[in-house]
């Protein structure tokens, strides 16, 4: 089976401009996605999921290691990135944004040779929103807006879809509908998917592979193997807790620092 994407020894450090402060977010990550994979990426906030996606999408270029899409190094051949569709972690779209659903979906075809209304219509049909075509995107619910973004990604006929916590802004009833859509896109349309989520139950149900990220990667393999092992789940929970406490203590330290900077002690 062909590798859709392969990542080797990927590390990324955020450098704060004009200061010496730096923060390593990813360390020595290696994995690959095969054709037809639905890879659930799990990890606590701050684990590096969005950073990993940003590197794969070419949004962050100063990483160490190698990322290949369809066996092409993305640094040497960035045009291969056009085969990726991306649905970001996004708060709801501004209500006044003046664009109709079909105008937003057709943005996905920019740079493609064959721009057709039929493609827009068929993409909207795939996400079950054909009847909303002429509505303004700001009038739709959070869940519908996310499906519109998927339709926008689908018009460019991607081979790999990257979804970064797509249900974050979705209303309570919608996630199940959304998960069914993801599963269908993977199985019926044969699109490989990388999907970051905090919903372990949903990942267990629909992903065939799981990657646990916690700055380093401590598991990548079959979903059944991960969720069938109490030991792995315990390790995952402990490591998530450690990262949470670490980021919490950093936040506390920052608060204390700011108090220290702002405070003033009079000279006796």
């Amino acid at each position: 089976m062909q590798d859709v994407a392969s990542v080797k020894n990927l590390s990324y450090t955020y450098q704060v401009t004009s200061t010496s402060f730096s923060s390593r977010v990813l360390e020595n990550i290696s994995f690959s996605i095969n054709e037809g994979d639905l890879l659930g990426v799990i990890g606590p906030n701050g684990a590096g999921k969005t950073t990993l996606f940003s590197c794969i999408l070419g949004l962050l270029k100063d990483y160490r290691g190698e990322i290949r899409i369809f066996d092409q190094d993305i640094r040497k051949n960035s045009s291969v990135l056009k085969s990726i569709g991306y649905i970001p972690q996004q708060k709801s779209i501004e209500q006044t944004f003046p664009a109709t659903v079909d105008e937003i979906v057709s943005l996905g075809m920019i740079g493609k040779e064959n721009i057709s209304k039929e493609k827009v219509a068929s993409s909207l049909k795939m996400v079950d929103l054909s009847d909303q075509m002429h509505k303004r995107i700001g009038e739709l619910s959070g869940g519908q807006q996310q499906r519109i973004l998927i339709a926008k990604a689908l018009v460019s006929e991607p081979k790999l879809l990257i979804l970064d916590e797509p249900t974050t802004s979705v209303d309570v009833e919608t996630p199940n509908k959304f998960y069914t859509l993801i599963k269908n896109l993977n199985q019926k349309n044969n699109i490989s998917i990388m999907w970051a989520s905090h919903d372990l139950d949903a990942v267990n149900k629909i992903a065939n592979k799981v990657m646990c990220l916690n700055q380093t990667m401590f598991f990548h393999g079959d979903t059944n193997e991960f969720f069938g092992s109490n030991e792995l789940i315990r390790m995952y929970s402990e490591s998530s807790m450690q990262l949470h406490m670490h980021s919490h203590s950093n936040q506390k330290k920052k608060e204390l620092d700011s108090i220290y900077i702002q405070g003033h002690v009079d000279t006796p």
Partner: protein, 282 residues
């Protein structure tokens, strides 16, 4: 009386230039508003003021000096913002105050305000000469053509920079180009509307158009219609009533905005009453 006014060649020039400038400002303004850079037009016009002062000080046609200074300053501030991560509002403040500072210092050196400078600050119909008109038409045509060609890319960037980047758009290059185009639009409008009121012509018609709740193309069209009508009516009224054209034009855009807000509020109330009656009848 209106027909009589239209006989004057200076008025014909003002109306033609005004309509073209209005369309250009509203088109560029839509993207500025969507990018949350509404005040960028203000900053650009103040930098242009510095450029005008350079022209008056060196006795070079002020529009050309304003053009060079504005384009260079806008590209420079964009580069500075990207390399130092200065917040956008702070970048606007830097541009605005430095443009004004250069202008004030040079005007002081040149011996104070002249009639010509005043016309650049507040706009003037009478002073639009043939050279100005050619400049306005050329700059506006260039801006409109490029924006028309790239409107989908610009809309994509306004919608989401990251998603536009992933789809292969060179966002950095497009941002530089767009800021350059916004500078050209401001320079084209200088003579007519004046430095102090250009940003209103860029922002207000678009805010009004967005209230109609339409898609992108229709919003752009409504904004152009509002801007062009405001400018044409404003020019005629300002001539008849001997008012400053810039101020008159902006006041008309504000009247249209207030009218739209009121109409929307009335429509909403009528709809609510209808809904309540329907619920009651059931």
């Amino acid at each position: 009386m209106v027909f009589e006014i239209l006989q004057y060649s200076f008025m014909q020039r003002a109306l033609l230039s005004g309509a073209v400038v209005a369309a250009t400002c509203s088109v560029v303004g839509l993207f500025l508003v969507l990018r949350r850079q509404s005040l960028f037009g203000d900053a650009l016009s103040h930098v242009a003021f510095g450029g005008i002062a350079v022209g008056l000080f060196t006795s070079i046609y002020p529009i050309w000096t304003a053009l060079v200074v504005s384009v260079l300053a806008s590209l420079g501030i964009t580069k500075l913002r990207q390399s130092t991560k200065i917040p956008p509002d702070a970048a606007v403040a830097i541009m605005l105050s430095s443009g004004l500072a250069v202008g004030i210092v040079l005007i002081g050196l040149a011996g104070g305000f002249s009639l010509d400078l005043e016309s650049f600050l507040f706009g003037s119909i009478l002073l639009i000469g043939m050279q100005d008109q050619i400049m306005i038409l050329l700059l506006s045509a260039a801006v409109l053509l490029i924006v028309f060609k790239l409107h989908k890319q610009l809309m994509y960037v306004a919608f989401s920079e990251d998603q536009a980047r992933v789809s292969g758009i060179n966002v950095t290059r497009l941002n530089y180009l767009f800021i350059g185009l916004a500078s050209l639009a401001v320079i084209a409008s200088l003579r007519l509307v004046g430095v102090l009121l250009i940003s209103s012509l860029i922002v207000i018609p678009n805010i009004t158009a967005m209230m109609f709740g339409k898609g992108f193309k229709k919003t752009a069209l409504i904004s152009i219609i509002i801007a062009v009508l405001s400018v044409l009516i404003g020019i005629v009224i300002s001539y008849v009533a001997n008012l400053a054209p810039g101020g008159t034009i902006v006041l008309i855009t504000i009247f249209i905005l207030l009218g739209t807000i009121s109409a929307k509020s009335v429509t909403k109330r009528i709809k609510m009453r209808k809904d309540i009656k329907m619920v009651e009848s059931h």
